[in-house]
Symmetry: C2
Subunit: 348 residues, 2 copies
């Protein structure tokens, strides 16, 4: 029998703290019984929630602290006040000490990235860490990175993003040789940033193992699923992601008001309700909850701060898959593969 | 009685050439009888199409040429082969010579911008031209620029974009003091590019007339209509626009397949058909067809290459409003207003 997957959970993170993270963990455990948890946070709050869930309690070790990083804390402030003692830091420390395979937090992104860099350190061979997101497409899901870790990128960093994204796609999307596209603009006159072109040249000529570079993609190619991995620097990636989220919400709101605009429409809505429900499920942002921090000596998952238990469970299950198939070693292998021999495929 | 509005039409531009541009002009003329046209292109093709539309024929002067810029021509190639003699150039030349107030082309964007810069020249006080787009929002419409003219921007260029966008919003959205936001990322850690912050400082402290600077906005604020004018450089702007278009298409496709997934859903669809139709109309990209080139000594509208007559008519009508209220003088006044007295409001 295979070993357990151990997840460190910053139980105090997010808008709702343990009220979401504990039931979320319980939900994930039901579906993946080989999960084990290290929960960091206030035992006085976590304890009773665990006591009401005996199966979860049996699978969980609590590390007590009353220090929690505020959702609006600045990264520098969070580091000053929360280093070593906060629930966020202690979850990362559990990964560093080998007590957990992966850390999950719904806490504030900037603070989490600052602490993760400080605690786990950037991986050798990687310039700077990145945040990768799962993007629902017409063909399934793609991975888009960087969605906001660092602003600006040189060609070498874009190549690192391609490699780390491909390693994640092999595991999360289960594709042996994922296709990788560089996000660019299509207007003839400009044809994109010099660094994007240079990164394209390196990817095309580098013949990197386990990565199928397909060239430039445009904004509307992301939703088409034109590439398994879409690479861009953090400013543009963050704006593309939020613009897509905003457009989806806009469409949903139009649809809602159209469906309540007349009694015929309301009746039609009732008849088509199960179709609408499946549409709603398809567009449910909780299904793809979790930005994955890549390029550190440890994997960290950032859940949306405002998510509910179902969304938090999705973030845990994303972590489960990445730990089960050892994403970290895969990235390490592929980063080394830039200059050396190809990495070993998935190590289950 | 007010004078006519004269539009120069590159009749050969776009995927369909005169088959779309001529009926599009006829449609616009029906709604705005004071329109007059200068059509540039092959008289052998345009002539018969006009002959079948006597009202349009009476309102149109044709300037004959058999040279047309290919949709896939590179800007440099287009300039080499099409300068002076192409239908695209001749439409721009008509604006330069004062024979038309505004030029409309569905031809290739890169070539059109290159020729427009060469023929019309960049406006004094403006660094580089930009392309502005109308973006449908929950509150109506916003103007987003730059959506792809130039890549990268310093703070001064972002301020120019804010001023030009506000001038356009005053006319197209009919708002005396439009709100202006700078597109930025919200992740605490990074808080955006230095140039964006610097542009924010200038806009906040500059107290520019006819412009209400509201600070940073994020990708999902565009669709909310959080600002009348959203300012960003061309790389990010182009990717945001195309990502939103892609997401809208993705949602529409999900909706179509949901509505045909069962007979109940199909029946529901039929009952709610008029609601769906109004939704479809709301999302119709033809309603907001046209990128507007700003910052040149003349206004140029780029229609989508693949649009139909209705979409082309929308682009013409957008030009009609901008000429009627003299966008060019407004921009000139507001650009001068950076250092001097406030510009005169709308000059009808």
């Amino acid at each position: 029998m295979s070993r357990s997957i151990r997840i460190a959970i910053d139980a105090m993170g997010g808008d709702h703290g343990p009220a979401v993270s504990v039931p979320g963990a319980a939900m994930a455990l039901e579906r993946r019984p080989d999960l084990r948890f290290v929960m960091t946070g206030d035992e006085a709050v976590i304890g009773p929630l665990l006591a009401a869930r005996p199966a979860l309690q049996a699978a969980t070790t609590v590390k007590h602290t009353t220090v929690a990083v505020a959702m609006d804390a600045k990264p520098s402030q969070a580091l000053r006040q929360g280093r070593y003692h906060s629930s966020m830091w202690m979850a990362l420390e559990a990964v560093k000490q080998g007590e957990a395979d992966i850390a999950v937090s719904a806490g504030n992104t900037g603070a989490l990235m600052a602490m993760a860099k400080f605690c786990l350190r950037t991986m050798g061979g990687v310039d700077r860490p990145a945040i990768a997101g799962l993007w629902p497409t017409m063909r399934g899901e793609s991975i888009v990175l960087d969605i906001g870790a660092t602003i600006g990128a040189d060609a070498a960093h874009l190549v690192d993003l391609a490699i780390m994204g491909a390693a994640m796609a092999r595991i999360v999307l289960d594709i042996e040789t994922p296709s990788v596209g560089l996000l660019n603009v299509g207007v003839e006159e400009v044809k994109g940033l010099e660094v994007v072109k240079e990164a394209g040249r390196i990817l095309r000529e580098g013949h990197l193992p386990h990565l199928n570079y397909i060239g430039f993609v445009e904004g509307d190619d992301i939703g088409k699923g034109a590439a398994d991995v879409v690479v861009t620097e953090g400013f543009t990636g963050n704006i593309a992601l939020k613009t897509a989220e905003g457009t989806a919400r806009q469409f949903a709101s139009y649809l809602r008001s159209a469906m309540s605009s007349s009694w015929m429409a309301r009746l039609g809505y009732l008849l088509a309700k199960s179709a609408f429900d499946s549409l709603k499920e398809k567009m449910d942002p909780r299904r793809a909850n979790g930005g994955v921090f890549l390029g550190l000596e440890g994997i960290v998952i950032k859940s949306h701060g405002g998510t509910d238990a179902l969304g938090f469970a999705s973030a845990i299950e994303l972590g489960y898959d990445m730990a089960r198939f050892d994403l970290l070693s895969n990235i390490r292998g592929m980063v080394l593969g830039k200059d050396g021999p190809p990495a070993d495929p998935k190590i289950p």
